[in-house]
Amino acid sequence: MRSLRRAWLFFRDNPVGAVAFFIILSISSLALLAPYIAPYSPTEIDVENVLSPPSPEHPFGTDELGRDVLTRMLYGARVSLSVGFIAVGIAVLIGIIIGAIAGYYGGMIDAILMRFVDIMLTFPTIFLILAIVVIVEQSIWTIMVVIGLTGWMDVARLVRAEFLTLKEREFVQAAKAIGVSNFKIIFRHILPNSLAPVFVAAIFGIAGAILTESALSFLGFGIKPPEPSWGNILTSGKDNIEVAWWLSLFPGLAIFITTLSFNLLGEALRDSLDPRLRKNNQ
């Protein structure tokens, strides 16, 4: 009940966040229901309807193999959202572990781990991801893992900063005094108190992961056709740029609206979780 009430208060104070949340909810439902609501098959080729512009039968037109773009976008939503959520899940997990260890133990361990973070940050992410995906076998799973492996640094820094302040607090000192193990202090006492900023970073991270996946698929290193993804539909958009604008417009709009919703939701959450910002807004 209490969390429901908190959610209601959040939505009442952040109409933009509420709209963003409901857009995300709707896109997720459309993605889940894709096999039941999609008007056509996502992969079946229809030679009589190649590159036909938007019409009542094909609201978003068809691609160079006559496949319905709307159908392919519904299936593509499954790819984008699952990559977004799972890649960020992996990144958050790595970030929490590294950030917690660095912040809690401090000293040499902290110095080494944070240097590692610096090193990871000097590689432009897309270069590192491309290097890895051309070496390992490409599938939706490797894409998730690779995006996760290259996106944990922000979370690690956030968690570390939280740990640095929280570990000095009385409740941690008390736990130490009565002999609670380090493992338990980290995961039971400090971590739950440091999750709010991580949650916000994760929401922003989903937007970033969706953008990365679509860029990878667009470049031909992500989800491979015939399996549809928003990024690889845009590849055919580029190949047919002079004749079929609809192939470029609609899938891109889907990516844009989805990432915009996650970013706006993240911003609204950050505002409501950061009391300093709230006070300044008044």
Binding site: L121, F123, L130, A131, I135, L234, I241, F256, F262
Partner: protein, 327 residues
Amino acid sequence: MLHYLLKRLLGTIPILFGITIITFIVIHLAPGGPAETQTELNIRASQEARENLKRLYGLDKPLHVQYLTWLKRAIRLDFGESFVDQRRVIDKIKERIPITLSINIISMVIIFLFAIPIGVLSASRRNSFFDRLTTLFVFAGFSMPHFWLALLLMILFGVELGWFPISGIQSIETADMGFFERVLDIGRHLVLPVSVATLGGIAGLSRYTRSSMLEILRQDYIRTARAKGLPEKTVIFRHGLRNALLPAITILGLSVPGLIGGSVIFESIFAIPGMGQLYYSSAMARDYPVIMGMLVIIAILTLLGNLIADICYALVDPRIRLGGKER
């Protein structure tokens, strides 16, 4: 200042080593080692290339020896030869650097010129129509897939309106053009790619300038400036902006990886023969020596960008410049 510079330079050494280690690990991610997978996946790699690779990585030796052998050559910027045309990797990279670097520098200047005024104006007119409009723009800029923006611009300004060329860096017939015409021609080719490259940076930096400006406008010295009756313009531009510029320099330095990363996307879309396109085509051809060489070079360039930003920061901020001397 010298002290600070030296400290900062020494700090990059472990990072440089880290870069080579991570690159080395990436090479060895491939099951069966680099030479086998590389040649197996690439039909263009001959038996000779396979032998060369084995020698390059010293694959019969233990891992740490392999790393040291590779490192010795990497330090001399010797990354072997490309599978595709057997040219030296470093030569291929070198000829691509100027184009990417100049586009990135142009982009940075444009980002700075647009983002700072936008940020300052929206902070000083908080919650005005302009402020709301830029907030909207910032979120659109963050959320917009850059390659999609590139496609839309190509359709609108290239295909429909025909204002700007949509591929390459210059026209095919440049021989009978004068110097001025040639510059104009390159400029026309760069309009669309640079627009795409700067959007994210403008969004990020203007947002950042806005929030640091808001922070500064609450400070006591701003209240003092206003209290002694200075015109609002002076308060904002002389007293506020100067302090807001400091963190902006750091942010610009931090945006280097994003800019260089973005070059893969816009260079391959607009067919600009820079590093991004070389990386893209090497990845497509699974030209591993080039990929690995570029990973190292690009990380070093990023590091250099950060270092330059830090030095600029130290130059304008007396707290850092003089702080080093005291210690």
